[in-house]
Amino acid sequence: VAGQHGVPCQVAVEELMACGTGICFSCVVPVGDPARPGEPARMARSCLEGPVFDGAAIAWGELGHPPASTGGLGLSPQDPLAADAAP
């Protein structure tokens, strides 16, 4: 929505964290350079570089698991954000 209206968008994202100090590399989020869409995203530590990122920089399709609140036994819908980002 922000993209359609040319409004900058920042998003707060995080992953499961073991340390919160930058040493364990658990909480990484795939972040790319919006100016270089062809380059693979790098795994940025959300505890140090985030949790707020430029929304356009997040490689949404590469984000991990769906939220724990979704799905159930045999019912595991994809992360709605990831689904939106899929072409």
């Binding site: 073991a18 698991h65 595991s76």
Partner: protein, 307 residues
């Protein structure tokens, strides 16, 4: 009594017998705000490979009883970036550095050792022969005595620093692997790596880690580490051992030192308390003083073989 905490590890004098374990201290930079890096026995770096590695997708960690599973997948900037930025930082901070190396072949390990041979800021090498978070079990070199020995031979042919081989307890005959790497020239051993584990999200009927399996660490594995150090120290007396696995307190460290470790490394505990490495060392000093022991090197002789 006056306690002397210094120890000799493969010819390198360490300020304390308590090291920061690989993968649980980054490359030291983030921890410098919590403690002085020159206070530690040594910093064992996150494992470094020839090329940068992006690591595994998330989720990469799962909490388990008295421990955690991780499947980071060896994310690291590669050896050139390590030498250009991380190593100078560690040297400036006065850290004693154990460079942890990881590769997909014996040749990779040999090339890494050759690259670091001219880096005086690296005091020892630790070969990560046992990370469970690899794509093929064939990359867990420490699962096979012959493969592990071949890596050590290639490294020793190129290395200028003493070499520690980090082994896994996930084998049926750990002493056979330890003997093979020592015969191949390893100067010492690090025991143990994480244990291969798995956890399931039963409410969604799927693995809790993206990589499905991961390495179990924390206090849950400490008895396994104690058994392994005792077993190998008994079979191969005189071989220096860095004991690691679930050490969170001075008493935990003393367990490993009593059964024959020369030094210990604190891993997962640093995630809970960034000052764990220095606090364990301080506690060890009090423990030795309370028992009238002058040096950690005297501990193994005090260990009684029977309960």
């Amino acid at each position: 009594v006056t306690v002397d905490l210094t120890v000799d590890l493969c010819g390198v004098r360490l300020r304390t017998p308590v090291l920061a374990a690989s993968g649980c201290f980054g490359f030291g930079r983030e921890m410098a705000g919590w403690l002085d890096l020159d206070e530690l026995g040594a910093v064992v770096t996150k494992s470094v490979s020839l090329e940068p590695r992006r690591g595994r997708p998330t989720p990469r960690m799962a909490e388990t009883p008295s421990g955690m599973l991780n499947a980071i997948g060896l994310q690291n900037p590669g050896v050139e970036a390590f030498c250009a930025t991380d190593l100078p930082f560690l040297a400036d901070a006065g850290a004693t550095v154990v460079a942890s190396l990881v590769g997909r072949s014996a040749d990779d390990f040999g090339r890494l050792a050759a690259r670091l041979a001219g880096e005086p800021a690296v005091h020892l090498l630790e070969l990560n022969l046992s990370c469970p978070n690899v794509e093929h079990r064939g990359e867990v070199f420490a699962a096979d005595p012959g493969m592990a020995a071949e890596v050590v031979r290639r490294v020793k042919a190129a290395a200028r620093q003493p070499v520690l081989a980090k082994l896994t307890a996930d084998v049926s005959d750990l002493v056979a692997v330890a003997r093979a790497v020592v015969d191949a020239g390893a100067d010492g051993l690090t025991l143990i790596n994480t244990l291969l584990g798995m956890a399931v999200d039963v409410h969604h009927a799927r693995p809790r880690l993206a990589a499905v399996t991961g390495g179990l660490s924390g206090p849950a594995i400490r008895p396994v580490a104690v058994r392994c150090v005792w077993q190998v120290a008994t079979a191969l007396p005189g071989v220096p051992i860095v004991g690691t696995g679930g050490v969170a307190t001075a008493e935990d460290a003393a367990e490993l030192l009593l059964v024959g470790a020369t030094a210990v490394a604190v891993g997962t505990a640093s995630f809970v308390n960034p000052r764990a490495v220095v606090e364990v060392a301080a506690g060890l000093e009090r423990y030795l003083a309370a028992h009238g022991v002058r040096s950690v090197a005297e501990l193994p002789a005090l260990f009684k073989a029977e309960a």
